[in-house]
Each structure stands twice: as C-alpha cells, then as structure tokens.
C-alpha cells in the first residue's frame, strides 16, 4: 500500500476514496485489497461498496456520520494487513465475429486497413483485465485493447445494441450484457449471458478476472446458445493469483 489517497464525503451517506488518476493494474489490486480490509473492519456500517478504475466508494447506512469515519479509514489504509493472495479467474469467452453477428467489423477493418482475420487476431490475442463492472448491469470495463483497434464512437448511437454484442469504443472493448442503446462499434457477439438475475451472483465476472475471447463459427455459436439456454454450458476458465 503505497499510493497517496484522497478521502472525501460524497453526499451525506458516502465516502469517496481516490487513487492517482490512472488506469493501472496495480491501482486496481490496491483498491481491492483496501476494499477487503474495509469490509472486514467496518461491515456493520457499510451498505455496499463500488469500485471504478481509480476510486472506491463506500455507501454507509443512513445513521452513520461519514465525516467521523474518514480518519479511521486513513489509519486502516496504512495499518499492516494480512498479505492474502487473491484468486481470480481467466475466462474463455466464445465470440462469433461473422459480419451478421458483428455488423461493424467489416467497416472497422476497412477503416483501419486490415483484413477481417487480422482484426479478429488482434482482438483475440490479448488477455483482457476486468477493472470493474458499471454502466449497465453486468457490463465489464476491460483493459488491454490493442491500440491499433481503437476507434472513435459512432456519431449517432444505435437505439438498440443486441445482447451479447462485443464492441469497441475509443480505446476500450466490452460486452453488452443486455439490449441497450450504445455508440460502440459492434464486431461480434457472444452466446454467453453476462448478467443473470437468477444466478446467486448476477455477474460471473469480478474485478481482477481476466478474459480471453475465443473465435467460434456460427454453428458453434448456436450450439453454445442452446446449451446456455438449458443452463448446461460451463464457461471454460482457469485460476490465477494476483
């Protein structure tokens, strides 16, 4: 724990803790370590916590006096903690990159001067890191897009981006967990559900997990979609330590 943090009340019931304004894996790890320490120590005061790239927000119960909690939080950050190694998943996410699934992939390839197989290779090569979930229920903010695929957002956002759309916007890539409006370029679609209200935890991803996109053909897409529908598709994954 070596970052210089700021602590500020954010409304009457929340404290916002900010790390240096960078998108960085070490910051993400430090946020999660501190979050675990806080949840361990102050669980009776805390309603819920949300992390983002370089911040952690703590929502407290209505009767908590948030400004009184800042000083004990600062002490907790510098207090020695157990150096627990956290376990994370590396998930293999099947994606069909055929133009009927990714309506913008041909346009993107043309604009960047690459062939379709080159775009697919560039998008499937990285091991993407999940920084946090936000924007939409189950939407993962991923780090690791090949900068050669970075592109400006659509000038006019689509009214309905389909569920499962794998897309690129700016220097980010992500998966739309449900149909929603959106301005990113759609390059493929995954048959997996990234948000499931019937699961014990609605999103199988957590911050710190990694994603690998695996190209599949149309037939495989429909096979996985059918298995997923009857709840018998197990997402391939392996574990890693931070």
């Amino acid at each position: 724990m070596s970052f210089s943090l700021t602590y500020q009340p954010f409304g009457a019931h929340a404290v916002l803790i900010c790390w240096p304004n960078i998108i960085d894996s070490d910051v993400r790890k430090d946020i999660q370590i501190f979050e675990a320490k806080i949840l361990n120590k102050f669980s009776e005061h805390i309603l819920e916590t949300v992390i983002a790239y370089s911040s952690l927000i703590l929502f407290f119960h209505e009767d908590a006096v948030v400004c009184d909690l800042i000083s004990p939080l600062k002490d907790l950050y510098i207090a020695p903690g157990e150096n627990q190694k956290k376990e994370y998943h590396i998930w293999k996410i099947p994606v069909c990159y055929k133009p009927q699934f990714g309506m913008d992939i041909e346009g993107l390839a043309k604009e960047k001067g690459y062939t379709l197989p080159e775009v697919i290779a560039m998008h499937t090569a990285p091991l993407y890191e999940v920084y946090f979930i936000g924007f939409l229920p189950g939407f993962p903010y991923l780090g690791g897009l090949d900068s050669r695929l970075a592109t400006t957002r659509l000038e006019i956002p689509r009214m309905a981006v389909p569920k499962g759309a794998v897309a690129i916007g700016g220097n980010q890539t992500g998966v739309y967990p449900s149909e929603s409006p959106g301005g990113w370029h759609i390059i493929g679609n995954t048959p997996l559900s990234f948000f499931d209200i019937n699961a014990s935890v609605p999103s199988f991803l957590t911050a710190g997990d990694k994603l690998k996109f695996i190209p599949i053909n149309e037939k495989e897409y429909h096979q996985i979609a059918a298995l997923q529908k009857e709840n018998s598709y197990e997402i391939e994954s392996e574990m890693y330590h931070d």
Partner: protein, 286 residues
Amino acid sequence: MIEVIAAGMFTTIQDSGRYGYRKWGVPLSGVMDQRSARLANHLVNNTNDEAIMEITMTAPILKFNVDTVIAITGAGFSPSVNGQKISMNKAVQIPKGSVIKFGKPSYGVRAYLSALGGFSVPKILDSYSFYPNITENFHIKKGNILSINTSEIPTTDLANSSVKISKAHFESPIITVDKGPEFNLLSRGVREKLLHQSFEISNDSNRMGYRLSAAENIAAAEIITSSVQPGTVQLTPSGQIIILMRDCQTTGGYARILQLTDEAINILAQKRAGESVRFVLRKLPF
C-alpha cells in the same frame, strides 16, 4: 386483485431501492420522492420497504376487485372513488368493486398509492422496484392484473389516520446540495454561476436523470469513469447539467460537481419541465 383499466403515462411499482447490487452495475432504483412514498406506506401501517405504486404525470384508472385500505400521497392528482372525491394523505377504505380515477396534477408530478399489505410483485435481486432487464415489467400496462398481499382489514383508527403536508415540498425552487468530488476543480466564475443562477428543467427528464437548460460559459472536463449516485449533479464538457435520479447508472465519466441532499432529491422528483430550480450549498456540520 387490481385491474389496470388505463395505465397512465409511466406507472411503476417501486420500493426503497435495490441495495447491494451496484457493484454489478445494477441501478439503485426505488421511489423518486421517498418522503411522500414513506408517508403513504405509514398511513396504511406498512413498513418503508413495502412495494408501492408510483404514478407520473398522467394517472392510471384502477378497478379494485378486493376490499382494502389505500393511501395516496405526493402530487395533487385529485383522486376519486366511484366518482366521489377522496382525501389525499389519508388512509381510505376501498370496498371491493371500486374504480379509482385521478385528475391532472395541480401540484407536483409524482403520486404514491400504497395498499394495506403492499403490492405483491416478484422480488428480484432483493427489491420490488421495476427496472428494464431486471424485472419482467418496466412499467404497468393497460390490462395488467396487480395483486396485493392479503392482510387483515384494520380497525377504524387506521382508516382515520391522516396528515397535513407542507406545500413547500412541491413549491420550493431551492435544491440543497453538498459539494461534489470535482467541485473544487471548477473555476471561481463557474462556481458562482452555478450557485447564483436559476436553471430551467428541460423536457428530457425522467427516472434516470433531470437535465437542466444549458447555461452559458459553464463546462467541465471529463473524468476517468468513477462512481455516481442518485442526486449527483454532472457537468459535461459541452455545458449540459444533468442531475442523476434513482434509476441512474452506477458509474459515469462526467465531472461530479454537486450532490443533492436526500430531501432535495425528493423535492426535485416533484418538479416538471419548465420549472426553475436554484442550487444552495448546505452548511456542513464540520
């Protein structure tokens, strides 16, 4: 059973909110005007967490095929039962077969209808609040049949309970705020404009957020995506002011310049397009 004869503009079922799921990007949701909704639940002896009907701008027509007790609070929609005007902010006995209609709101925009025992809708992710892709229904439609939890019809003292409400809740243009995380990054000139000028609420305002009319020479740079919450006032690089409301996203990339108090969210929730509001900084207790 309650039959929806007409749905109204945007009628939903809400509770106090879907807590515990924001880490997965799930909006908090819940009633827009908590003060009015809590009152409606109290009047019929329900807890704060009971599912309640939120009515917006144009009200539904409801046929009650059940004996119950209801209370209507919030915006002044002039409710009637079988053509007879009934009081708001009061527990009212509803005999089976009654049809409840409403007029146009003479003050406020959102009314709350509580029923003894609460509305019986599926609890999804620990909440009854409607939200697209989470609950099956996003809003109530004509022909829907709503159930209420069965409960003993109470004694007369409940049916007589009523309260007087303050009109300031619906008429005050003052929106009390705290400084937001990026407030201190604004120039002095922008801060002064923000706190000394009135802003008009634009048409594009709903449960996700209220947009204010564009003001000149006010803008803020984007930030690295970070947490927001209901009541967060965002300022975009093009000068748009957006006040996030109960169905807002969990994170956002615009500067968070102010944060509404809980009561200010309730007051704003009763305002309509064209009304003016003014931000006033709350004196902090430290």
